[in-house]
Structure formats: C-alpha cells, structure tokens
Amino acid sequence: MSVPSPAFCARIRQGLSDAVLQEALQRATRSFRISQEKAFADLPDAEVVRDRARAICAHTIAHLDRYLEQFAREVERRGGKVFWAATAREACDYIVGLARARGISLVAKSKSMVSEEIGLNAVMEAAGIRVVETDLGEFIIQLAGERPSHIITPAIHKRREDVSQLFQKHLGTPPTDEIPALTAAARQALRQVFLDARMGISGVNFGIAETGTLVLVTNEGNGRMVTTLPPIHVALMGIERVVPTWEDAEILLRVLARSATGQALTAYTSFLTGPRRPKEPDGPEELYVVLVDNGRSRWLGTPLEEALYCIRCGACLNACPVYQAIGGHAYGSVYPGPIGSIVTPMLGDGAGAELAYASSLCGACQDVCPVRIAIPDLLIRWRQMEAGRLLPAWERAALWVYAQIARHPAAWTQLGRWAMALLRRLGRGGWLPRGPGLLRAWTAVRDLPVPQRPAFREWWASRGGGAP
C-alpha cells in the first residue's frame, strides 16, 4: 500500500480543482482568523486561561474513571438514564430501541459530531425513523445528501445559489439569493419539526461530573429546541467530554467560543441537569445520556491520550494550510483537519492512519489550539506507528540505510561530499533541471540549486573551527 492511498490522492485532487470550494474556504477561514484573534485579545490573562484549560483536560483524562462514574451517578440521581456504549453499533442500537419502543417516527436532531462518528442517521433511517438535522448548516448538508466538511460550519463549501436550489427542490421555496429569505424558509420548515418530533437528539460539549449537568453551546437555538420541546431528550456524549466542576466548565467556555467562532460566548449556552422537574412548566419528560467509547478508552495512558483533550472548536482546521487548500471532504473522515487526522484512526475500527501524512507539520494548529495539544508531535507519532505498515518495503529499507548513515558522522561527511560532488557534475549553470533516479520526481516540478563551493564544512574548517 502506498501513502497516501490512491483514493485519498483523488479526493485531494478533487478538492484542489474545485474553484467554488477554494473560494469558500479562503473567504471563511480568513474572516474567522480575524475574529478569533480579536476575541482572545479581549480576554484578560488569555494565556493563563489556556494553560488552565489544558490542565483541566489533562487532569480529567488522567482520572477519567472517577469523573465518569461521578457524572453517571449524578445524572441518574436527578432522574436521567445513562447508557454506556462500548461501540458505535451499541450506541445506535440503543437509540433505535428507545425510539421503536415508543413508536417514534420523527426525530429532531441538533449538531453532534459523535452522531456522525457512529453513523446514527443511517441506522435510524434504515429502521424507518426520520431524523431531521436542525442546525442550518447540517440541514443543508442533509438535503444535499452530503457529510459536513467543517466541525463548526458544516456547509462551508456551499454557496447561496446551491442552498437556494436545494430549498426549491426539497421545501418548495421560491428561487432567491437573499440569505435572510433562505434562513426564514428553513426556520419555518424546521419549526414544525421541533413541535412534531417526539424525540430530540443532541450532542454534548461538556458533562459536569459534580452535578451530572450537560453543557451545550449553540448559536441558532436549535440545540435548545431539541432539548426542550420533544418529550424525550437523548444526549450523545463522548466519554472524554466530562469535566469535574462548574468552575472547570466555565474556564473551558472562556476559550471554546473564542476559538470556534471568535465570539466571547455563543448566543446560547445551556446547562441542563436531568429531565423536567415537578414544578417546572416545560422541558423534556425523559432524559437519556449515551456515553460513547468507540475506541477512545484504548488510548488512555498512551501518548495519544492527549488527543482526548480536544474540545472540538475547529480552530486547527481554520489555521491549517492543508485544510485551507483541500477542504474537509478530502480527508474522507468524520473529523477533518489536523486534529481529525489524529482522532480518526483512534476511533472505531482504527481506519484512516494515512491521514497523518496530510500535514506539513508547520505547527499553526498547535499555536491556535486553546488546550495546546501538540498536534504535530501526535501526527509524527502516528506516522511512526504506521510507517511499518503503510510504507512500501523499498522506502522502509531506504530509511533504515539513512538512519545508519545519520548515526555515523564520518560516513555522513564522506557520503555528503560524494553526493555534493555528483550534483555539481550533473548541474548546468548552477541549477539541476533534471535529477537522476528518484530525484527526478522532485525536479519534475522545480529546479534544484546546485551546491556551491566552499561547502559549509570546508568554510568552517578554513576558519579554524572544530567539528561542526
């Protein structure tokens, strides 16, 4: 198997040659970076807050059993039910079972990356249950029969004309390129879904262990709708989403929206604890929290557990030059971008390790990460782990030889001299337009400057320097 695989290369080429996508990505990621920087500039002690946020994640993951157990106990103490799903299949089957037992045929859903990860919609639809995505971006994607291309702005690759055509076809909306009119059409269609649905499914941004409280952030209010109007609320939560206390959640909220959308806080941040209480006039009658493992626990205690600190803000996508060039779909995974390349092979059946090569390791992702995940290091770790499996035999052999030479300074110096001499012989007028052997692939797209004399080592020695 070669890296990257032909299928991956094809997706990358498709992304690069899609002019509409390129324009949308440029526009979106640029405006995003500006607002994000401003939001952090306005936050006092921003760097201390980020350190603190990281410390909270590190502490929680190191003691995850304790906080998960406390969280589950508190959810149940306040009338919610907890289901532990070891696999994607278990989570889907449980939710389908809940809906079937009550004869539910329509479900309103707010954005949940975990639901994408476990493929919930397909399983529900196969069971004859209609699931309607209610986040505007997700709704558009669902009508188009696609998958999100960005964690925060799923329809980042769609223009207003595309949306208008989708709405004409599926909602009977008259043609328009007015964004407010399109939004109003979606409001009308989805309002009825909120009222009619007998089950609401949401994701969870943080679960507060001390009280069993679910924290959900949304801007549109659809997250509030699906957790308030239907009589049953099902919350899907990755097991790494738990935090010990309200104060910890507050710290993470200081960085989440700033990193995700450049807002100090999203329009709605819900703190939901249990189902409707006796004296409350509204709220769901039943609450189910589905805790999804799906491979996460196998990475606890390994260097990759750091990837579980991720709060899914999407900042690393916007910062990544590779993501900006190829777009989310090219990754072919639910979680795109730098963090997605690390997380994807950690989940489910472990497919997608080749994504670790879709990075220039420039480090822009680590700079913007609000919890300072060492994303480039983790990508390199995946490359190391997978090198034996993914690289062709000749490349592995070549790397072995290289490693031997690099470990012996005398051999390195001598071979370096020979290589430089060879390049100088092959060069024409200071440039090498066509390299020998494997070097040809490189010189096919650019010329290589021929090494100049004196070489650094010669120059250094002429100045009386010791071994450089």
């Binding site: 002690d45 549109e220 009589p231």
Partner: protein
C-alpha cells in the same frame, strides 16, 4: 456502578497528578451592580445585538414593555410564573393593554402536551426575568425551576427581559463563586433542569458566513435594565 466501558477506562487511566498552574483572573473584576459593570453590560449588549433600555423604576419598565409590544402589534405574550411573581403588576399592565398573557405549564401526557406547545408557539413575544446578567459578555442568565419556563425565551420571535441593577455581575465566574459559597448553585441544580446563558438573539452564519438573526430562536432581544433607587 460498573460497565465494561468504565472497567476499561479504570484499567487504562494513569492517575498522573499534574500541576494545575495559576488561576486566571476573572474576565471582568468589578463590584456587582456598580456603575462600571452597568456600563460594560450595555456595551456588550450593543455588541451582541441586544437592544437595551435603562428604566428608573419597574413601573417605567412596564410602560416601556407595553409600548414596545404595541409598536410591534403583538397580541399574545408568553410569560412564566416566576416572572409573574418577581414583577407584581406586570401581568395587569399587559392585560389592561389588551394583550393575551399565556403561561401555566405543559401537561405531561403526550397529546395534551403537544397541543399546549402549539398554543405557546403562537405567541409573538416572551417576557422573562433573569437569575443574573453578566457584564463581560452581555449574557442573560435565565433558569427553569419552579415556574421557570424555558419556552418564553425561545419560541417567540421577540424576547423581552427584565434585569435589576443588583442582578448584574461582572461575569459568569463571579456569579459561580457567589452561588458556590452560598449554596445557591446546588439549589438551582436540584430544582431546575435548565440554566441558560443567552447572549444576544438567535444567530447563524451557516450560509456564506453571513450573519442572519432569528434562525430558530428570537430575532430580537430587548433588555430593560431597572436601576431602582441608587
């Protein structure tokens, strides 16, 4: 409590202790209800698109509400029992102005519950009080609990909210510190299934990153800041 998932987590965790580092400052440090927090609150409201009106008294705020509702030709208002209790006289002011005030609670049985929701969904405005407001972000902190309705700040296209000067905290962290110390946090969690931080009207930028208001929740949020006797 046990499950195979929890068992595996238990086997794998490192239980490493790590230094948690210094505690960052609050996003805003200023006394509750001070002139500084009020000023910051109004600036933050303007930033997030909340229209604000400073009213010297409750009576003045009620008159303002009626005027705003009339301007918008609102006829049905959703208002919960908590707001009713906190602002005696408000319901009368609304009813005297010819408005229909909807409230109460949803039945628990599915059919009647559905019908009740359908009725609430016809309201053109919702009125609520707050637990607190946070000046740094312009956030309205609203709650469920006894008589606390989630729908009043969610279903109608217009949300009118009443805030007392003493309810204005510099930030969520400040409210948490106080609620933790007094035990109020635990009480809220015990009796309320929802505490919602509302920061501006419902918004989306999902189409071409263009900001559009009122996609699902209220398009318009009007805050009445009651200053009381200073």
């Amino acid at each position: 409590m046990t499950s195979p998932v929890l068992e595996r987590v238990r086997r794998q965790v490192t239980r490493r202790s790590a230094p948690s580092g210094p505690i960052p400052r609050w996003p805003l440090e200023a006394p509750r209800g001070s002139a500084a927090v009020l000023e910051r609150l109004q600036a933050a409201w303007a930033d997030v698109g909340v229209e604000s009106v400073r009213c010297p008294t409750e009576a003045e705020a009620f008159r303002e509400i009626v005027a705003r509702l009339r301007e918008r030709k609102v006829r049905h208002v959703l208002m919960d029992a908590r707001t009713d209790r906190a602002y005696p006289g408000l319901r009368e002011s609304l009813e005297d102005a010819g408005l229909t005030v909807m409230g109460g609670g949803l039945p628990r049985e599915e059919g009647p519950r559905y019908l009740g929701l359908g009725r609430w969904a016809t309201a053109e405005a919702g009125i609520t009080e707050v637990v607190a407001a946070f000046a740094d972000t312009g956030t309205l902190w609203v709650a469920g609990g006894a008589g606390g309705m989630r729908c009043a700040s969610l279903l109608p296209p217009l949300h009118i909210v009443l805030v007392q000067r003493a309810q204005v905290y510099p930030c969520l962290a400040a409210w948490l510190a106080e609620a933790r110390a007094s035990g109020a946090l635990v009480e809220w969690v015990e009796e309320s299934s929802a505490l919602i931080a509302i920061t501006g009207p419902s918004r989306t930028s999902d189409i071409e990153k263009t900001l559009t208001l009122g996609v699902h929740g209220p398009r318009e949020v009007i805050a009445l800041l009651i200053e009381g006797a200073a």
